[in-house]
Subunit: 220 residues, 2 copies
Protein backbone atom coordinates (compact mmCIF):
# COMPACT_ATOMS: atom_id res chain seq x y z
CA UNK A 1 0.00 0.00 0.00
CA UNK A 2 1.36 3.38 -0.98
CA UNK A 3 1.33 6.49 1.22
CA UNK A 4 2.34 8.65 -1.71
CA UNK A 5 -0.01 11.67 -1.84
CA UNK A 6 -0.08 11.18 -5.62
CA UNK A 7 -0.05 7.41 -6.15
CA UNK A 8 -1.30 7.83 -9.71
CA UNK A 9 -1.45 4.43 -11.20
CA UNK A 10 -2.32 4.52 -14.88
CA UNK A 11 -5.88 3.72 -13.94
CA UNK A 12 -6.08 6.62 -11.51
CA UNK A 13 -4.51 9.00 -13.99
CA UNK A 14 -7.07 7.99 -16.55
CA UNK A 15 -10.01 8.42 -14.17
CA UNK A 16 -8.81 11.81 -13.02
CA UNK A 17 -8.12 13.12 -16.52
CA UNK A 18 -11.44 11.83 -17.83
CA UNK A 19 -13.21 13.63 -14.98
CA UNK A 20 -11.38 16.90 -15.65
CA UNK A 21 -12.09 16.70 -19.38
CA UNK A 22 -15.75 15.84 -18.83
CA UNK A 23 -16.22 18.77 -16.48
CA UNK A 24 -14.57 21.18 -18.91
CA UNK A 25 -16.55 19.78 -21.82
CA UNK A 26 -19.88 20.21 -20.01
CA UNK A 27 -19.13 23.85 -19.41
CA UNK A 28 -17.94 24.56 -22.94
CA UNK A 29 -20.72 22.62 -24.67
CA UNK A 30 -23.29 24.43 -22.51
CA UNK A 31 -21.96 27.84 -23.39
CA UNK A 32 -21.13 27.33 -27.06
CA UNK A 33 -23.33 24.45 -28.23
CA UNK A 34 -21.93 21.43 -30.03
CA UNK A 35 -20.98 23.24 -33.22
CA UNK A 36 -19.63 26.30 -31.45
CA UNK A 37 -17.50 24.34 -29.03
CA UNK A 38 -13.96 23.51 -30.12
CA UNK A 39 -11.70 20.79 -28.84
CA UNK A 40 -9.03 23.45 -28.44
CA UNK A 41 -11.21 25.47 -26.05
CA UNK A 42 -12.18 22.41 -24.03
CA UNK A 43 -8.51 21.51 -23.80
CA UNK A 44 -7.65 25.02 -22.60
CA UNK A 45 -10.36 24.91 -19.93
CA UNK A 46 -9.20 21.46 -18.85
CA UNK A 47 -5.59 22.63 -18.83
CA UNK A 48 -4.43 19.86 -21.13
CA UNK A 49 -3.01 19.73 -24.66
CA UNK A 50 -5.65 19.22 -27.30
CA UNK A 51 -4.14 15.90 -28.39
CA UNK A 52 -4.76 14.45 -24.93
CA UNK A 53 -8.50 14.89 -25.35
CA UNK A 54 -8.34 12.68 -28.40
CA UNK A 55 -6.32 10.20 -26.43
CA UNK A 56 -9.10 9.77 -23.84
CA UNK A 57 -12.13 10.37 -26.09
CA UNK A 58 -11.68 9.27 -29.68
CA UNK A 59 -13.85 11.97 -31.24
CA UNK A 60 -15.58 15.20 -30.35
CA UNK A 61 -18.92 13.44 -30.69
CA UNK A 62 -17.88 10.65 -28.31
CA UNK A 63 -16.95 13.22 -25.69
CA UNK A 64 -20.24 15.04 -26.20
CA UNK A 65 -22.19 11.82 -25.85
CA UNK A 66 -20.57 11.13 -22.51
CA UNK A 67 -21.49 14.60 -21.32
CA UNK A 68 -25.15 14.16 -22.24
CA UNK A 69 -25.32 10.68 -20.71
CA UNK A 70 -23.84 12.04 -17.50
CA UNK A 71 -26.49 14.75 -17.27
CA UNK A 72 -29.29 12.37 -18.04
CA UNK A 73 -28.30 10.18 -15.12
CA UNK A 74 -28.34 13.16 -12.77
CA UNK A 75 -31.90 13.88 -13.85
CA UNK A 76 -33.04 10.31 -13.34
CA UNK A 77 -31.51 9.63 -9.97
CA UNK A 78 -32.54 13.02 -8.61
CA UNK A 79 -36.08 12.36 -9.78
CA UNK A 80 -36.38 9.34 -7.52
CA UNK A 81 -37.55 11.64 -4.72
CA UNK A 82 -40.79 11.86 -6.64
CA UNK A 83 -41.78 8.35 -5.63
CA UNK A 84 -42.18 6.81 -2.20
CA UNK A 85 -44.41 9.65 -1.06
CA UNK A 86 -47.89 9.15 0.39
CA UNK A 87 -49.53 11.87 -1.70
CA UNK A 88 -49.06 14.72 -4.16
CA UNK A 89 -48.28 17.44 -1.63
CA UNK A 90 -45.08 15.76 -0.46
CA UNK A 91 -44.35 13.82 -3.67
CA UNK A 92 -44.66 16.67 -6.12
CA UNK A 93 -43.47 19.29 -3.64
CA UNK A 94 -40.20 17.49 -3.00
CA UNK A 95 -39.77 16.77 -6.69
CA UNK A 96 -40.07 20.48 -7.49
CA UNK A 97 -37.54 21.29 -4.77
CA UNK A 98 -35.11 18.69 -6.10
CA UNK A 99 -35.44 19.87 -9.68
CA UNK A 100 -34.86 23.48 -8.67
CA UNK A 101 -31.81 22.46 -6.65
CA UNK A 102 -30.35 20.79 -9.73
CA UNK A 103 -31.08 23.85 -11.84
CA UNK A 104 -29.04 25.87 -9.39
CA UNK A 105 -26.18 23.40 -8.91
CA UNK A 106 -25.94 22.00 -12.46
CA UNK A 107 -27.04 24.74 -14.85
CA UNK A 108 -24.52 23.68 -17.49
CA UNK A 109 -25.90 20.16 -17.56
CA UNK A 110 -29.44 21.39 -17.99
CA UNK A 111 -28.36 23.60 -20.86
CA UNK A 112 -26.57 20.83 -22.69
CA UNK A 113 -29.70 18.70 -22.39
CA UNK A 114 -31.90 21.52 -23.67
CA UNK A 115 -29.54 22.10 -26.56
CA UNK A 116 -29.55 18.43 -27.45
CA UNK A 117 -33.34 18.14 -27.40
CA UNK A 118 -33.85 21.39 -29.30
CA UNK A 119 -31.70 20.00 -32.09
CA UNK A 120 -33.87 16.91 -32.27
CA UNK A 121 -31.75 14.77 -29.98
CA UNK A 122 -29.27 13.56 -32.62
CA UNK A 123 -27.16 11.83 -30.00
CA UNK A 124 -29.56 10.58 -27.31
CA UNK A 125 -32.77 9.88 -29.22
CA UNK A 126 -32.65 6.29 -27.95
CA UNK A 127 -32.69 7.58 -24.35
CA UNK A 128 -35.83 9.59 -25.04
CA UNK A 129 -37.59 6.59 -26.52
CA UNK A 130 -36.63 4.12 -23.80
CA UNK A 131 -35.47 5.39 -20.40
CA UNK A 132 -37.31 8.71 -20.39
CA UNK A 133 -40.51 7.25 -21.85
CA UNK A 134 -40.56 4.49 -19.23
CA UNK A 135 -39.83 6.89 -16.39
CA UNK A 136 -42.60 9.20 -17.56
CA UNK A 137 -45.17 6.43 -17.87
CA UNK A 138 -44.45 5.15 -14.38
CA UNK A 139 -44.83 8.62 -12.87
CA UNK A 140 -48.04 9.20 -14.78
CA UNK A 141 -49.35 6.00 -13.19
CA UNK A 142 -48.46 7.29 -9.73
CA UNK A 143 -50.24 10.58 -10.35
CA UNK A 144 -53.30 8.83 -11.73
CA UNK A 145 -53.35 6.76 -8.55
CA UNK A 146 -53.43 9.95 -6.48
CA UNK A 147 -56.24 11.29 -8.66
CA UNK A 148 -58.24 8.08 -8.26
CA UNK A 149 -57.90 8.39 -4.48
CA UNK A 150 -59.22 11.93 -4.66
CA UNK A 151 -55.96 13.39 -3.36
CA UNK A 152 -55.78 15.94 -6.17
CA UNK A 153 -57.75 17.36 -9.11
CA UNK A 154 -58.09 15.24 -12.27
CA UNK A 155 -55.55 17.14 -14.35
CA UNK A 156 -53.67 15.48 -17.21
CA UNK A 157 -50.55 14.08 -15.48
CA UNK A 158 -48.49 14.43 -18.63
CA UNK A 159 -49.02 18.16 -18.93
CA UNK A 160 -48.46 18.56 -15.21
CA UNK A 161 -45.06 16.91 -15.57
CA UNK A 162 -44.21 19.07 -18.59
CA UNK A 163 -45.10 22.16 -16.57
CA UNK A 164 -42.82 21.07 -13.74
CA UNK A 165 -39.95 20.26 -16.10
CA UNK A 166 -40.37 23.50 -18.01
CA UNK A 167 -40.61 25.73 -14.97
CA UNK A 168 -37.79 24.18 -12.95
CA UNK A 169 -35.38 23.92 -15.88
CA UNK A 170 -36.22 27.46 -16.99
CA UNK A 171 -34.23 28.77 -14.02
CA UNK A 172 -31.15 27.00 -15.42
CA UNK A 173 -31.64 27.24 -19.19
CA UNK A 174 -32.83 30.87 -19.15
CA UNK A 175 -30.71 31.77 -16.16
CA UNK A 176 -28.98 34.53 -18.08
CA UNK A 177 -32.31 36.18 -18.91
CA UNK A 178 -33.44 35.86 -15.30
CA UNK A 179 -30.19 37.32 -14.02
CA UNK A 180 -30.48 40.21 -16.45
CA UNK A 181 -34.04 40.93 -15.29
CA UNK A 182 -32.68 40.72 -11.74
CA UNK A 183 -30.44 43.70 -12.42
CA UNK A 184 -27.55 41.58 -13.69
CA UNK A 185 -26.99 39.64 -10.49
CA UNK A 186 -27.59 35.92 -9.95
CA UNK A 187 -30.39 34.99 -7.58
CA UNK A 188 -29.28 34.89 -3.94
CA UNK A 189 -30.34 32.35 -1.32
CA UNK A 190 -33.45 34.28 -0.32
CA UNK A 191 -34.52 34.67 -3.92
CA UNK A 192 -34.07 30.98 -4.60
CA UNK A 193 -36.24 30.28 -1.57
CA UNK A 194 -38.84 32.60 -3.10
CA UNK A 195 -38.66 30.64 -6.33
CA UNK A 196 -39.29 27.35 -4.57
CA UNK A 197 -42.12 28.80 -2.53
CA UNK A 198 -43.89 30.45 -5.45
CA UNK A 199 -43.51 27.55 -7.86
CA UNK A 200 -44.78 25.01 -5.34
CA UNK A 201 -47.57 27.30 -4.21
CA UNK A 202 -48.97 27.88 -7.69
CA UNK A 203 -48.62 24.33 -8.97
CA UNK A 204 -49.81 22.54 -5.83
CA UNK A 205 -52.76 24.87 -5.38
CA UNK A 206 -53.38 24.59 -9.12
CA UNK A 207 -53.94 20.85 -8.87
CA UNK A 208 -56.41 21.26 -6.02
CA UNK A 209 -54.36 20.96 -2.84
CA UNK A 210 -55.55 22.95 0.15
CA UNK A 211 -53.54 25.87 1.52
CA UNK A 212 -52.71 24.04 4.72
CA UNK A 213 -51.22 21.11 2.75
CA UNK A 214 -48.93 23.52 0.95
CA UNK A 215 -48.08 25.50 4.07
CA UNK A 216 -47.02 22.30 5.78
CA UNK A 217 -44.15 22.00 3.27
CA UNK A 218 -42.69 25.37 4.14
CA UNK A 219 -39.29 25.02 5.80
CA UNK A 220 -39.07 26.38 9.33
Amino acid sequence: MSSDPRPQTKREIRQENERIILQAAEKVFAEAGFGGATMQLIADVAGLPKANLHYYYSTKEALYRRVVENIFNIWLTAADTFEASPGPAEGIGKYIDAKLEISRSHPAGSKVWANEVMHRAPVIQDYLETALAEWTDSRIAVINGWIDKGLMDPVDPRHLLYMIWATTQHYADFGHQIDTLNGGAPLNDAQWADVKHNVKRIILKGIGLADHDIEALRPR
Copy 2:
Protein backbone atom coordinates in the same frame (compact mmCIF):
# COMPACT_ATOMS: atom_id res chain seq x y z
CA MET B 1 -46.44 50.73 -66.90
CA SER B 2 -45.74 47.05 -66.95
CA SER B 3 -48.36 44.31 -66.79
CA ASP B 4 -45.65 41.74 -66.28
CA PRO B 5 -46.75 39.26 -63.57
CA ARG B 6 -43.20 39.58 -62.22
CA PRO B 7 -42.52 43.33 -62.34
CA GLN B 8 -39.57 42.89 -60.00
CA THR B 9 -37.99 46.24 -59.56
CA LYS B 10 -34.65 46.05 -57.82
CA ARG B 11 -36.38 47.06 -54.63
CA GLU B 12 -38.92 44.24 -54.94
CA ILE B 13 -36.24 41.70 -55.75
CA ARG B 14 -34.31 42.75 -52.66
CA GLN B 15 -37.35 42.54 -50.38
CA GLU B 16 -38.35 39.16 -51.71
CA ASN B 17 -34.85 37.69 -51.49
CA GLU B 18 -34.31 39.06 -48.00
CA ARG B 19 -37.59 37.47 -46.92
CA ILE B 20 -36.66 34.10 -48.43
CA ILE B 21 -33.20 34.18 -46.85
CA LEU B 22 -34.56 35.22 -43.46
CA GLN B 23 -37.10 32.41 -43.46
CA ALA B 24 -34.49 29.82 -44.43
CA ALA B 25 -32.05 31.19 -41.86
CA GLU B 26 -34.59 30.97 -39.04
CA LYS B 27 -35.19 27.32 -39.81
CA VAL B 28 -31.53 26.40 -40.13
CA PHE B 29 -30.39 28.37 -37.07
CA ALA B 30 -33.17 26.77 -35.02
CA GLU B 31 -32.19 23.26 -36.04
CA ALA B 32 -28.43 23.57 -36.01
CA GLY B 33 -27.65 26.47 -33.68
CA PHE B 34 -25.41 29.34 -34.69
CA GLY B 35 -22.19 27.36 -34.85
CA GLY B 36 -23.76 24.33 -36.49
CA ALA B 37 -25.51 26.33 -39.17
CA THR B 38 -23.55 27.00 -42.37
CA MET B 39 -24.16 29.69 -44.93
CA GLN B 40 -24.07 26.93 -47.54
CA LEU B 41 -27.00 25.12 -45.90
CA ILE B 42 -29.03 28.30 -45.53
CA ALA B 43 -28.36 29.06 -49.19
CA ASP B 44 -29.51 25.57 -50.19
CA VAL B 45 -32.73 25.90 -48.18
CA ALA B 46 -33.33 29.35 -49.66
CA GLY B 47 -32.57 28.06 -53.15
CA LEU B 48 -29.89 30.66 -53.80
CA PRO B 49 -26.14 30.57 -54.38
CA LYS B 50 -24.14 31.03 -51.24
CA ALA B 51 -22.54 34.25 -52.48
CA ASN B 52 -25.96 35.91 -52.75
CA LEU B 53 -26.47 35.61 -49.01
CA HIS B 54 -23.34 37.66 -48.46
CA TYR B 55 -24.66 40.18 -50.94
CA TYR B 56 -27.81 40.82 -48.89
CA TYR B 57 -26.36 40.22 -45.41
CA SER B 58 -22.73 41.15 -45.02
CA THR B 59 -21.86 38.45 -42.50
CA LYS B 60 -23.32 35.32 -40.94
CA GLU B 61 -23.67 37.21 -37.67
CA ALA B 62 -25.59 40.06 -39.30
CA LEU B 63 -28.04 37.56 -40.76
CA TYR B 64 -28.41 35.87 -37.39
CA ARG B 65 -29.06 39.19 -35.69
CA ARG B 66 -31.89 39.95 -38.08
CA VAL B 67 -33.43 36.55 -37.34
CA VAL B 68 -33.36 37.12 -33.59
CA GLU B 69 -34.73 40.65 -33.88
CA ASN B 70 -37.57 39.34 -36.01
CA ILE B 71 -38.51 36.76 -33.39
CA PHE B 72 -38.29 39.19 -30.55
CA ASN B 73 -40.85 41.44 -32.22
CA ILE B 74 -43.26 38.54 -32.62
CA TRP B 75 -43.05 37.92 -28.88
CA LEU B 76 -43.64 41.54 -27.99
CA THR B 77 -46.56 42.28 -30.27
CA ALA B 78 -48.26 38.99 -29.47
CA ALA B 79 -47.90 39.72 -25.77
CA ASP B 80 -50.05 42.81 -26.07
CA THR B 81 -53.13 40.63 -25.50
CA PHE B 82 -52.01 40.50 -21.90
CA GLU B 83 -53.09 44.06 -21.23
CA ALA B 84 -56.46 45.73 -21.65
CA SER B 85 -58.20 43.01 -19.68
CA PRO B 86 -60.36 43.67 -16.64
CA GLY B 87 -58.79 40.96 -14.50
CA PRO B 88 -56.40 38.03 -14.30
CA ALA B 89 -58.81 35.36 -15.57
CA GLU B 90 -59.15 36.96 -18.98
CA GLY B 91 -55.81 38.78 -19.03
CA ILE B 92 -53.60 35.86 -18.08
CA GLY B 93 -55.84 33.28 -19.73
CA LYS B 94 -55.67 34.97 -23.11
CA TYR B 95 -51.95 35.56 -22.70
CA ILE B 96 -51.37 31.83 -22.14
CA ASP B 97 -53.49 31.02 -25.19
CA ALA B 98 -51.56 33.49 -27.32
CA LYS B 99 -48.18 32.21 -26.14
CA LEU B 100 -49.16 28.62 -26.85
CA GLU B 101 -50.42 29.58 -30.30
CA ILE B 102 -47.04 31.11 -31.06
CA SER B 103 -45.26 28.00 -29.81
CA ARG B 104 -47.27 25.98 -32.29
CA SER B 105 -47.01 28.37 -35.26
CA HIS B 106 -43.44 29.65 -34.74
CA PRO B 107 -41.47 26.87 -33.04
CA ALA B 108 -38.30 27.76 -34.95
CA GLY B 109 -38.39 31.32 -33.69
CA SER B 110 -38.81 30.20 -30.11
CA LYS B 111 -35.85 27.85 -30.45
CA VAL B 112 -33.56 30.50 -31.88
CA TRP B 113 -34.47 32.75 -28.97
CA ALA B 114 -33.84 30.00 -26.44
CA ASN B 115 -30.51 29.24 -28.05
CA GLU B 116 -29.50 32.87 -27.96
CA VAL B 117 -30.40 33.31 -24.29
CA MET B 118 -28.77 30.02 -23.28
CA HIS B 119 -25.53 31.24 -24.78
CA ARG B 120 -25.73 34.41 -22.70
CA ALA B 121 -27.41 36.54 -25.36
CA PRO B 122 -24.23 37.58 -27.18
CA VAL B 123 -26.26 39.31 -29.89
CA ILE B 124 -29.37 40.72 -28.19
CA GLN B 125 -28.20 41.49 -24.67
CA ASP B 126 -29.28 45.12 -25.17
CA TYR B 127 -32.83 43.94 -25.91
CA LEU B 128 -32.95 42.03 -22.65
CA GLU B 129 -31.80 45.05 -20.68
CA THR B 130 -34.13 47.55 -22.31
CA ALA B 131 -37.23 46.34 -24.16
CA LEU B 132 -37.77 43.10 -22.26
CA ALA B 133 -37.02 44.62 -18.87
CA GLU B 134 -39.47 47.46 -19.48
CA TRP B 135 -42.16 45.12 -20.77
CA THR B 136 -41.72 42.89 -17.73
CA ASP B 137 -41.89 45.74 -15.25
CA SER B 138 -45.09 47.11 -16.77
CA ARG B 139 -46.76 43.69 -16.63
CA ILE B 140 -45.66 43.18 -13.06
CA ALA B 141 -47.36 46.47 -12.23
CA VAL B 142 -50.58 45.26 -13.84
CA ILE B 143 -50.51 42.02 -11.88
CA ASN B 144 -49.79 43.85 -8.64
CA GLY B 145 -52.81 45.99 -9.39
CA TRP B 146 -54.96 42.89 -9.66
CA ILE B 147 -53.53 41.58 -6.40
CA ASP B 148 -54.25 44.88 -4.65
CA LYS B 149 -57.85 44.67 -5.81
CA GLY B 150 -58.12 41.18 -4.37
CA LEU B 151 -58.71 39.64 -7.79
CA MET B 152 -56.02 36.98 -7.27
CA ASP B 153 -53.65 35.56 -4.64
CA PRO B 154 -50.57 37.60 -3.68
CA VAL B 155 -48.04 35.53 -5.61
CA ASP B 156 -44.77 37.03 -6.86
CA PRO B 157 -45.70 38.37 -10.32
CA ARG B 158 -42.19 37.85 -11.62
CA HIS B 159 -42.15 34.14 -10.92
CA LEU B 160 -45.67 33.82 -12.28
CA LEU B 161 -44.48 35.35 -15.56
CA TYR B 162 -41.46 33.05 -15.64
CA MET B 163 -43.73 30.05 -15.15
CA ILE B 164 -45.94 31.15 -18.04
CA TRP B 165 -42.96 31.78 -20.31
CA ALA B 166 -41.31 28.52 -19.38
CA THR B 167 -44.41 26.37 -19.77
CA THR B 168 -45.69 27.88 -23.01
CA GLN B 169 -42.30 27.96 -24.71
CA HIS B 170 -41.53 24.43 -23.54
CA TYR B 171 -44.02 23.14 -26.11
CA ALA B 172 -41.90 24.74 -28.85
CA ASP B 173 -38.37 24.40 -27.51
CA PHE B 174 -38.81 20.84 -26.26
CA GLY B 175 -41.27 19.92 -28.99
CA HIS B 176 -39.11 17.05 -30.13
CA GLN B 177 -39.12 15.51 -26.66
CA ILE B 178 -42.87 15.99 -26.39
CA ASP B 179 -43.45 14.46 -29.79
CA THR B 180 -41.25 11.51 -28.88
CA LEU B 181 -43.20 10.94 -25.66
CA ASN B 182 -46.36 11.20 -27.78
CA GLY B 183 -45.31 8.14 -29.74
CA GLY B 184 -43.33 10.08 -32.32
CA ALA B 185 -46.27 12.10 -33.64
CA PRO B 186 -46.78 15.85 -33.30
CA LEU B 187 -49.67 16.97 -31.12
CA ASN B 188 -52.96 17.16 -33.02
CA ASP B 189 -55.66 19.82 -32.65
CA ALA B 190 -57.41 18.02 -29.80
CA GLN B 191 -54.13 17.56 -27.93
CA TRP B 192 -53.25 21.22 -28.31
CA ALA B 193 -56.67 22.08 -26.92
CA ASP B 194 -55.83 19.81 -23.98
CA VAL B 195 -52.56 21.66 -23.46
CA LYS B 196 -54.30 25.03 -23.34
CA HIS B 197 -56.98 23.75 -21.01
CA ASN B 198 -54.59 22.07 -18.57
CA VAL B 199 -52.05 24.89 -18.49
CA LYS B 200 -54.69 27.55 -17.91
CA ARG B 201 -56.50 25.41 -15.37
CA ILE B 202 -53.46 24.76 -13.20
CA ILE B 203 -51.99 28.25 -13.36
CA LEU B 204 -55.25 30.19 -12.95
CA LYS B 205 -56.44 27.99 -10.12
CA GLY B 206 -52.91 28.17 -8.68
CA ILE B 207 -53.16 31.93 -8.31
CA GLY B 208 -56.50 31.69 -6.54
CA LEU B 209 -59.13 32.02 -9.25
CA ALA B 210 -62.39 30.17 -8.72
CA ASP B 211 -63.39 27.22 -10.88
CA HIS B 212 -66.26 29.13 -12.46
CA ASP B 213 -63.88 31.93 -13.54
CA ILE B 214 -61.70 29.40 -15.31
CA GLU B 215 -64.60 27.48 -16.77
CA ALA B 216 -65.93 30.71 -18.28
CA LEU B 217 -62.83 30.82 -20.53
CA ARG B 218 -63.51 27.42 -22.06
CA PRO B 219 -64.34 27.70 -25.77
CA ARG B 220 -67.80 26.49 -26.73
